[in-house]
Amino acid sequence: MAEEEGESLIHIALGGEELFAIGPFVVTNSMIGALLASLLLLAAAWYVTRQSTLIPSRLQGLLELPVEWVAGIVAGSTSRWRGYVALVIGFFLMILVANWLGLLPGVGTIGLRHGEELVPFVRPAAADLNFTLGLAIITFVVFVWWGIRINGPGGYLKELIGEPRYMAPLMFPIHLISELSRLVSLSMRLFGNVFAGEVLIATMLALTTATLFVLPLAFFVPSIFLGLELLFGAVQAIVFALLTMTYITMAIAEHDGGHEPEHDPRDDHGEPDAHPASSPA
């Protein structure tokens, strides 16, 4: 990655870089990253479901684990969790795979040479604002849709206006901005973390390979940051997924006690399973 070109040690592109174009449609390397992550996930899904058994094999258990884990968290949010659990797990898996994909050797180092600059074939999808903004837009649409679905359009609008009606001129813009800021915070947080991680690793690699004197450091200093990025990648994935869950939960729960009774029937529904197991004991 180190390109000693004038004064800059590394080459940094803020967005996805164009690889080629199909007619007017430009294909960037981050699109390839997103596609690769998708295909990897689909392959794993195919593997899990192809020979899934009740008593899981080791690999099946490993692949089921994240689904089960996130589903367990989402199931504790609201009684309507079945309606959005797939979205949350989907976010988690997609971002996790896309982030970890970016840490593989070859990603970011193998590519086309455009003049002096190397354009990698694959760029971690989340290091492109298009990807993170796209996911955030989906989240935004979904939680607004849930709010309207639960409270009705009028109820949703009332939520935006706020409780003391005379404060509306002040509160409405604030609420609107707060809703929209979720879009920005979700997308920029993920993008910033992954992009910064990429830059950090590139920088470390460039620094440690800058002179022969520090070259031995190149064998383990970037590895430390790679390990950190492994952690951050997972953290950002779960943060994005759980924030999505939280926004949807808030949109559902903002509706007052009228929804609460629906909590209990589920608990009652859940209890008959536990009841026969415990009562004869």
Binding site: T49, G90, G134
Partner: protein, 171 residues
Amino acid sequence: MQFFEAFGVDVPKLAFQIINFLLLLYLLNRFLFKRVFDLLDERSSKISKGLEDAEAAARDRELARAEREAAVAEARKEANQMIARANKIAEDTRNEILTSARTEAEKVSTRAREEIVAEKDRAMAEIRGQVADLALAAAGKLVRHEMDDPTQRRLVEEFLAEVKPTTKPSN
């Protein structure tokens, strides 16, 4: 807009990412999540059923053990009772046999004694008769004088009656 340009954001790229994710989500949900959820539900119900079964089996086992113990205790008690009863019967029988044997023996010995006494009396009477005759004969010979029989006889018998207490009956 300049902000978006700087980050390389434009509508086609954004649309591609959104469509890509939604498509992936649809496929994952269709083929993976539903399957995994079903499997997890099935597995958890199987496990809870298994646990329940195990609990029931343990309960049954405990019950069977208690029953068996009760049966063994019952049998032991019964056997003890039987032994006690048998012992008692044996004891009773023994006592009965002993008592009857004792009474029998007593009866036999009494009868024997009585017979002996009767025999002795008979023998004494007989002897007495013979002795009287002998005495008479001896006396006749000695006296050489015949007395009328009835008088002599009375005399002798009187004599013998007097003598009897001094002579030993067994001789």
